[in-house]
Symmetry: C3
Subunit: 396 residues, 3 copies
């Protein structure tokens, strides 16, 4: 009954995500995002009730990680498995890509019997999302020319611009913590830079957060030390969206000021936009010495902002001294995973289990992205699943 | 209906591939090869019609890659998955094989619940196929002595002698492009050496091509610069087969001459037989300096034959100036993947999508090899699949 | 019928392994161990009769190997696959664990949709089992706090103390070779140190063997050169258990003396307990030079005991000159895998296939550990499987 109502809420009409890749949340309509959340919730509920939402008897989901990952790798594997797909890693060191193969060719070679390709490529500004679109275009051609029996859906598992599986999982967590998306209206969320002893963290998480949360009537505050800005286009877009959705958007350069009265805080390190630009330029030019100097300079810059740690004093400034703390994990926890970091150990501990809950939505978000990409009318398929009476675990 | 007829064409009698490993096409009868092609076609058709040909509820397919691979790795994974098997990689760097385990023991240890073992071992002349037979004998013993509940089938994913999953996929492509195997009679196919800036490419593709295509009444022309011959026994066998099947076989040492009037061309680099022999000898003797010198010498030799590029001028010599271009991929494309290579960029582009189609047959060929190895009467099983009404994707 | 009787023998009452991790055999009651053996036997029999015991439609089994492995890796993969789970490797070099993530967090991040976590961590005394318990506690918390929908079971795939999947497979082999567990009463089993040219082999196999076999009324003889003792607590426990179960326990320092009249022999190298302690201490202190010196010293010690090879002369001392030879494999075979080793080549050859049979029980033992951890009344589920009529291979 509960499940049936949830399925009903998805609606009967053709869904806008059908047949499209999930590369950036801002390419998706608000309705599309709501559909994703609802499908994710149904899949989560089904699994908890021992109903198997498996829709693929066989099929491959290709994972292409061009950067390290534990949680996203397992989330992708979990989502694929939940729907019945086997994961096949495209490990670019093992494969002949290292022999100079072109992206276009490889995209087809890995996709003859594949239903999805998940890609993480977040290391270099201007490169990651571009690569994903190159893969997507290659798959378009392969399908159009009869090479591929289906057009595999591409899912962005983090690029230089956005981290949609993270931000959507974060949104699902907020919906869960605050009771509904409606309840997020007027809430103040602070996306804040934080100090970290490491170098070159991608911009995709803060960009993804301000770009997504600005569409739900929230008061977005973006805080960072002078010079640590994000990609200007994305900041501008977030501002515009915030106003249009009935919220607000502001930028500040003091962590303390930003935290005042916050309902939600997201303190997280990143490298400044202009440094990331410089880094890509040096890299493409093969300037190793320049890259080393840039790293030294960047770490020295960071070290001037060690006070950008989310600690108890700052927590006390937030709404009821208890704003919801969020993080994509792993966090740089002072005295735990590093000497000085993004967050004070006691403050982190207070919200630790909630960051695990936050992360736990990601497998279902990815599964929902797959589901809505593949099925024009997801509600019908979900009803079919409910009616076919198939258990995930036999005898439970 | 279409599918039912295709299944009927396979025939009802016991198939000759049943219970036997697929190591070399020339160990198989013409009927066996036809059966493989027909089963592959049915499996492909079924998947395109959303009929799941899954026959294994559980089971493992072991992949043992002793050389790099993207496309064969994915093809093997796809075939295994299509039939319901999970792939387990035997990664010899991770495993205790590096501790001096014998082949015999390992073959059994990985096979307790395995249904197939796919092996690529193509680096050293005289070694790869030998290793596969060693594995096969070990499995024979394990099964005979009650160690293994079933005898896993061994599939050659490329050795020093043959590359049967490639050549059979190539044959399926030819059947598809020319309408039938019958239509291949009298067609001229040129297996030609081509220049590449890389060293030590295996002989298994050209050998596999002349050994297989010579059985279907084609006019085989093998072309290479003086000194770049293949294993003499295989060349002789191909000649004999060509004549017996009503075709012809000739060798030439000019790419231009070879291409004249060709219906099909397969320009592809390889290392000369005698160099590969020398290489194995030096390697077994641990002579690192000798190996380096051999590489230098071999690359210098290659460089004298940069005119062995398949370019527009040579294409114009072929039948209707438009012979079907084939390649196992990745090709060394001049100006794209290397400065000077096997094929001119524009010529490659003209046939590029067709090389993708060619590669796309491989997963089904591998699945058909598994299927016919396992089921004595594949047509009966395929009929059973057709009648059980099981979709690959739910609700599609 | 045979299967039905086997299932009946498991009993109807709640099984003591339900909801508990399998970390050490000595934490389990004798009844629990018998249940594991019986379930393993039923699963093996089912598979051989083409009955699929798959109970998971989807789900992940995480494998976390912190040391090399071929056979245990394949056994874990086989067991997971047999029950319907996909294996996802937690490769700690690829993952962000190398970035300082805490065990607690990672344990949860990999478990959102996982049913089991198998861990091998056998390199350092005092560390492996401790790590497993840390993971287990983290999963307890995650489940209690609503992070995880089910509490994944943890399975010890070898630690510093025990190697329960090995010792239980060994016990199953003995049951099979001697006809019943009852027949093992009074039999003499010799767990003997043997010479090996390698360094730092874990203690978990000999410890696991004496700790398990001492519970079935056998006469345990532990033999090693002076100074090569195991962890004292485990030796004492084994002695106590042996007496309680109606058997006996003795230690000797001569391989010849030990072998006299033996029914079963298990000659296997290990590093002395005190060396392993020292090694952990040096390692935690980062003393690389000390570690190198320790290795040199340890190998020199070993070399004084090259006469601890199980050879034909020693075999002749055993019961009927034909004691059952056992080994966890790979064995260091003199003249085969090393110059001088644990066992003479001809002696090994005589029992070689039986060591394969021994190893072949491991996948089913692991599957039974999973099965009994997950299902309170395994007999009921197994009956359900028998009645549902699902084949492992279609059409066979």
């Amino acid at each position: 009954m509960e499940l049936e109502k949830q399925i009903e809420s998805i609606g009967r009409s053709s869904n806008g995500l059908f047949g499209k890749d999930f590369l950036l949340t801002w390419e998706k309509s608000r309705d599309d995002l709501l559909t994703t959340l609802r499908v994710a919730r149904v899949l989560k509920e089904m699994r908890e009730q021992n109903i198997s939402p498996r829709v693929f008897d066989t099929g491959l989901a290709v994972s292409n990680f061009r950067d390290k990952s534990t949680r996203t790798r397992f989330s992708f594997a979990s989502a694929s498995n939940l729907l019945g797909l086997a994961v096949q890693d495209l490990d670019e060191e093992k494969s002949q890509i290292s022999h100079g193969e072109t992206v276009r060719e490889t995209a087809n070679m890995i996709s003859f019997l594949s239903d999805f390709v998940g890609i993480r490529d977040d290391m270099f500004l201007g490169e990651g999302n571009k690569y994903m679109r190159e893969v997507a275009e290659s798959l378009d051609e392969g399908f159009a020319r009869g090479v591929l029996p289906v057009r595999p859906g591409v899912i962005n598992l983090q690029c230089d611009l956005d981290h949609p599986t993270q931000s959507m999982a974060d949104l699902m967590h907020l919906e869960s913590q605050f009771g509904s998306l409606e309840n997020l209206r007027g809430k103040k969320i602070v996306m804040s830079w934080a100090y970290s002893p490491s170098y070159g963290k991608p911009l995709s998480v803060p960009q993804g957060i301000i770009a997504l949360m600005s569409r739900f009537g929230m008061q977005i505050e973006l805080a960072y030390p002078e010079g640590y800005g994000l990609i200007p286009d994305i900041t501008e877009m977030a501002e515009k969206q915030a106003v249009e959705s009935g919220g607000s958007f502001s930028i500040s350069h003091s962590m303390e000021e930003a935290m005042a009265g916050a309902d939600i805080v997201y303190p997280k390190s990143w490298a400044p936009f202009h440094i990331m630009e410089e880094r890509t330029r040096l890299l493409l030019g093969g300037d190793k010495k320049g890259l080393q100097e840039l790293e030294v300079q960047c770490l020295a810059n960071n070290a001037r902002h060690k006070d950008w740690e989310y600690d108890e004093a700052k927590m006390r400034l937030t709404k009821s001294q208890d704003a919801l703390y969020m993080h994509c994990l792993p966090a740089d926890i002072s005295g735990v995973s590093c000497k000085e970091g993004e967050v004070n150990a006691e403050v982190f501990e207070k919200y630790r289990v909630r960051t695990y809950l936050e992360a736990g939505f990601k497998p279902y978000i990815i599964a929902a992205m797959m589901f809505t990409q593949r099925f024009e009318r997801p509600a019908e398929i979900l009803e079919g699943i409910l009616n076919r009476d198939r258990c995930r675990v036999f005898g439970e």
